[in-house]
Symmetry: C5
Subunit: 355 residues, 5 copies
């Protein structure tokens, strides 16, 4: 996960300037439905959307990937989307936000995508206007597959309601991708917790650090969604969101708060893991030092004693020069002294609970 992922222009560039598309690879799908019928067009050309937009059915245009400027501008003109919104769609890495006008709603969301133990954030931009919803999703993972299936599979609430209910479903779906992500994090934390106390090695350290960093970055990207849903709930100007849909948005608000609280809790927990790691390392050091001290303390004094009787003072010169060497029980006495010393030390260690 990159620390810096905002695409920006050089300071002083014209406002509304579009960034160059990175890949130009994109697909445009269109669903047009009411309670009685549905037509699905995959990989449709942008110019062929117009008749669907104009009819009275709900039209949903989903743009996956990195659209060309041409396609964007055509779409923007057909639906009367403001230049600055189009700039936000292209310059990915935007903060989630919502712009509510009387007849239009423009929303930007962060979609956490979890892939091979790598997490990254894709930007989902949603635009709701008279009967039409346009959704843009960067990257190549389409988060709305299940909604397409629900629309096609039968006449449910989603088919009977208007575009605002589809709009809510899209937002709710993007936000709910937080839950499986958090479940993965909870498992990673639990695994690390166990490893920490057993083997606090460098690998675990870098994993804890990576986890903390990821949670920090994801929190920053998801946090504004709370405020976003809140703004939709409080809004009194827009005419499209019905009271019934608003009640669903309240449910969505609960989800977004749950996700943020879990993220906060996990972040705090990971900071705790770092402290736990440090303490665990200190404990290990204590263990290592105890071993060293026990060994050194047991053997250094006896080594001195045997050193004494390795001296070469000449017992012939004087009676005072190492008479012990000539003593019958000298050798045994030395062993007795040494064993007493060792036992004393062991008793000391036992008392201080080192062994």
């Amino acid at each position: 996960m990159k620390l810096f992922n905002k695409r920006y222009h050089q300071p002083g560039t014209r406002p509304g300037e579009l960034a160059e598309p990175v890949s130009d690879v994109f697909s445009l799908d269109l669903l047009d439905y009411d309670a009685s019928a549905i037509s699905v067009k995959n990989d449709i050309d942008v110019h062929d959307c117009r008749p669907f937009i104009k009819n009275s059915n709900v039209t949903w245009i989903h743009v996956q990937g990195d659209p060309t400027h041409d396609a964007l501008v055509t779409l923007a003109k057909g639906l009367d989307i403001h230049d600055l919104y189009i700039e936000d769609v292209v310059n990915s890495g935007q903060r989630p936000k919502v712009e509510l006008n009387e007849e239009q709603i423009f929303a930007i969301l962060s979609l956490p995508v979890h892939n091979n133990n790598q997490v990254h954030i894709e930007q989902v931009s949603l635009f709701l206007t008279q009967n039409t919803v346009v959704s843009f999703c960067s990257g190549d993972f389409n988060p709305f597959q299940q909604i397409v299936t629900r629309l096609q599979s039968g006449v449910g609430k989603l088919r009977r309601r208007k575009a605002d209910y589809l709009f809510y479903n899209l937002i709710d779906t993007v936000i709910d991708y937080g839950f499986p992500l958090l479940e993965t994090y909870s498992e990673r934390i639990q695994t690390l917790e166990d490893e920490l106390l057993d083997t606090p090695d460098k690998n675990v350290l870098s994993q804890v650090h990576k986890l903390r960093r990821e949670l920090l970055l994801i929190r920053r990207r998801l946090w504004p969604q709370r405020e976003m849903v809140n703004e939709i709930l409080r809004d009194e100007e827009n005419t499209q969101i019905t009271p019934e849909t608003k009640m669903h948005f309240r449910d969505c608000h609960d989800h977004v708060i749950s996700i943020m609280e879990l993220l906060e809790t996990y972040h705090e927990m990971t900071s705790g893991l770092m402290e736990l790691y440090m303490t665990s390392v200190s404990l290990k050091l204590n263990d290592v030092m105890k071993v060293l001290t026990i060994i050194a303390t047991l053997f250094i004094p006896p080594t001195f004693i045997v050193g004494v009787y390795g001296m070469n003072f000449d017992p012939l010169v004087s009676k005072l020069n190492m008479p012990e060497l000539q003593w019958e029980y000298g050798y045994i006495a030395v062993w007795v002294v040494i064993l007493l010393m060792i036992c004393g030390m062991l008793a000391f260690f036992k008392k201080h609970k080192w062994i």
Copy 2:
């Protein structure tokens, strides 16, 4: 206590979809009372509740465990409960909240259950409507046993008042389960504090960590109850809660704040315990190192000296080769030097307060 305990649907699922019940084991008890009479039905079938709901007495239906979809839907229809509320009852692990309409109140609470030194959170969902209170409690511990006893044992305030007072009593009871929990925590903290300074071993470390983690998770689950009670107090739309009951809710508000403040204090204290642990480990390391240093410093220099006189330079070759070995008082002089060195070191350690 699990890090992640929210039951959720795959992103894109239909809103209002009910999660599969885990066990299907549940019981449904009904109490129907006024000041003059009370009738209690245990393990009643959901379809037999209707006549009680319709009469003018206060009716309390308590559902313990994991109800089937059938039972829930029947109950919801009979009492006019919204789909999204029923979803919240089933998808346990919800944030505490309250939804206040003119004629109904729906509340979700977190019930901390303390069992064999394990703490877990059960979800209690309460629904108040005209004369009727429905309570759902996950798990198999029924927190309301004492209230049933109070209702049955005589004609107190609880029997004379309306359903809103029963509703308050249920909320108050769930919140008050925080106090015995906190008392347990205070004892655990006190025990750990004592152990910490004496024997900062791995076991204590993992207990401190476990405690901090539990407090973090419980705080997250109980915190929203503060806001919840506050919302009931501020509410001016609902017609059922009488001013007299509101005064009781103010008392309840004091309790919920006391609990949160204690949780905060304990959490901060546990963070302090972690620091205390680290410092205590460092102190122990210092002790270990002092022992090592004292031993090494006392015996390494004398070992060098006796090593010197263990050298085999040939005194016959030259007068300069180890004349001490031939000296009458050589051996005694060596001992004197060694003892002086040791005394000097001991004085040094004394001065620096190491011994």
Copy 3:
């Protein structure tokens, strides 16, 4: 100071239930005064209070200790005090708060009592109604002795004013007990700071920890008093507090804020002490390790060298076997080499500022 000191009922108990008094030991004093006269009744029976309450003088009833239920109920009836307030008086360990009605004010305060280096919190409950102030204080320390003296000693402002001014004086007195407490803490912090840098031993550690813990607990108990005084200042409903008394409450507000800011500062400072302690322990460890390293580095290499010349290779077998032993200046050369090594090491230590 206990971590958990709230007296609570089992969840599900009837609201308003009174806790059993712990000791039943209490005394009830009554002062009845106006500008011209004062009558003082010590250890008066609760039933004899009635005539004093009814007259137009200011009546102050002070209940010290742990009153019986009988006494409380009699008092409550005579003065029209609500059940829930009486419950709060008995279930000590309440959060400070104030309840303002049109004709009555009920306040709970935390009184820090400092006794033999032990701090504990007593609960003071105050009740102001038409011409009458009732004060309850748990424990056996009466904080209001000086006010009794002031009332008796002459006709000051306190005698000339109404009950609201007495009420203010009682609150101000309880709050002001924070100042001598804080002064004691400031001295303890200063003492610990000095000891920390000199002798960071276990005793100092547990004192720092105890101090931090006490400040945490006291902060929690005193904090709500800020809000409490604020509520009295903002109140516009109660008719008893005169503008002149309110001006005095503003002074009281300054005190309560000063106390909280000092508590915050001391708490932050004590956290700093813990860090300082840790660092000081690390510094000591460095010192210890330096001594060990210096000794080991000075003597281990020479020990190796003298070991070399303690080997018993037979110089007779070959010219290559330890010819140094036969060399005239061998012994002196060894000493020269050893002294050079030691000097080199000392220079190295000097350079790195270890000695």
Copy 4:
């Protein structure tokens, strides 16, 4: 980056006193344009500006560097700028702020300049009045070069709009200089993260500290810009900012929030780096101590044993004096014992995962 960079007067100095210019080196450029024509005057004298200010075109005066008091006073008189604003322009190191009057807007911004791995903050002061924008920028880096180019290169939106749109473009440009700066920081953090785990040496430590310090100082200088843009958005008194320009300021608001959130995230991350560093150092210490302990534990006990058989007890005096020396397999037995000890130790280390 300096810790203290506010220029201030001695306390008690007359308010509005101008600080002595440091260098007196400055240049004054003027652009006068409407949709049809543009005239550019570089290094124009301040007295020659008057005719341009008076005409109905948009006039932009840019003062780069450290203007003399004379030039400032002349300009201030010509444009009716208040003394206190002029003081703020000269006493650089001001907090970003905006002062909105009905006809004038005065804004101070912080421009982060990144030069040879050194970051410093220059102060940009903007003044908008009827048709005229005056911009002051301390230092010698002109941040508005690209806007000059856009104005000269053709008739875009910037040429067609009024002075308020130019004013917005200048603010937006200064704010956007945050993005390249943040990108640099993200790279520095990433580099340090890698180095930390590998070689936690003193150099890395001082780099982490420097980074944290810089982020702290920059955050302080940029933070008030958030509030500043907010004030422009909320303003309802000033008549010059059109609704269309306000919509652009909302975009600018998004930028300023993104920058602050990234700064916060980076600051938190750098604190994490410090902890990571400490832990990494502890890990290294553990490694060092393990090596020492392994070596000491492997060789100290065998050294004792060989010491034993270096003793000179006289086997001739008694049969008890070191009979092993006379034993045929004595030497081999010693080696066997030593090798067994070493193997035992190695097994112990293996078991504890030290090797």
Copy 5:
């Protein structure tokens, strides 16, 4: 700087009681001026002030030091100052605050005085009433010398304006004393930062701690001034402060916020210094341990080897007893083995970048 510096009465003392003056040493200066004339009276008696107060000129009475109760009461009566304000003047160590009435303003400020590397806080109390300003300043440093000079030196704005402008100038002066103080702190931080990484000894530690403590205490004393200036700005009741003076107070507000932000930044930075210190100590420990480990690892194994050949096994008893001693190249072989071991170790250290 003292931790506790509030002068307080015993709890229960009469409100408005004046603390005993500590020294009774004070001087009272009076300036009476309008645009045309000024008269200055130094060390004037308090009773002689009356005629100046009554005339229509601006009268400024400055009381330096610790006034007697007599002087204070006389002054208070002459100017109609409330008892509680006089109490605040005497009981120094008050929180900065402002009390705004329709005709009077009473303000308390904290003046940081920097003297011989010692910082302490003096209390400045200001009282503004009809045409008269009274200023009290504890201690013997008069902060307003420069303003006296400005008043005497000529007819500036200060002479032409009313008492409110003088009042603003006094407040502004006291607040601006924060800037030189902060500059000193920035230098101390910078010095400590350099010393930290080089020589993290006990002296530096206690300096960092002292700095952090001072910043904590000063922040507590200066913080309320922000709120104070804010209250003057928001006030709409007082009639003396003109809009022009209010505009100057806005400038003063910028200063007070700048000072608080710098204090916050410095405080955070000092906390960072403590961490840096700890890490630096750990790094030093690593260095020390590396030296020990290198020496021990280089010499302990060779010492064992030479110990082996110091054993006295009798080669005459058996061919198996130390045949190496009889080998022609034995001694040289031992040296070769030892040198190889040392080289191996050095290579190992090189590889792990220890040397």
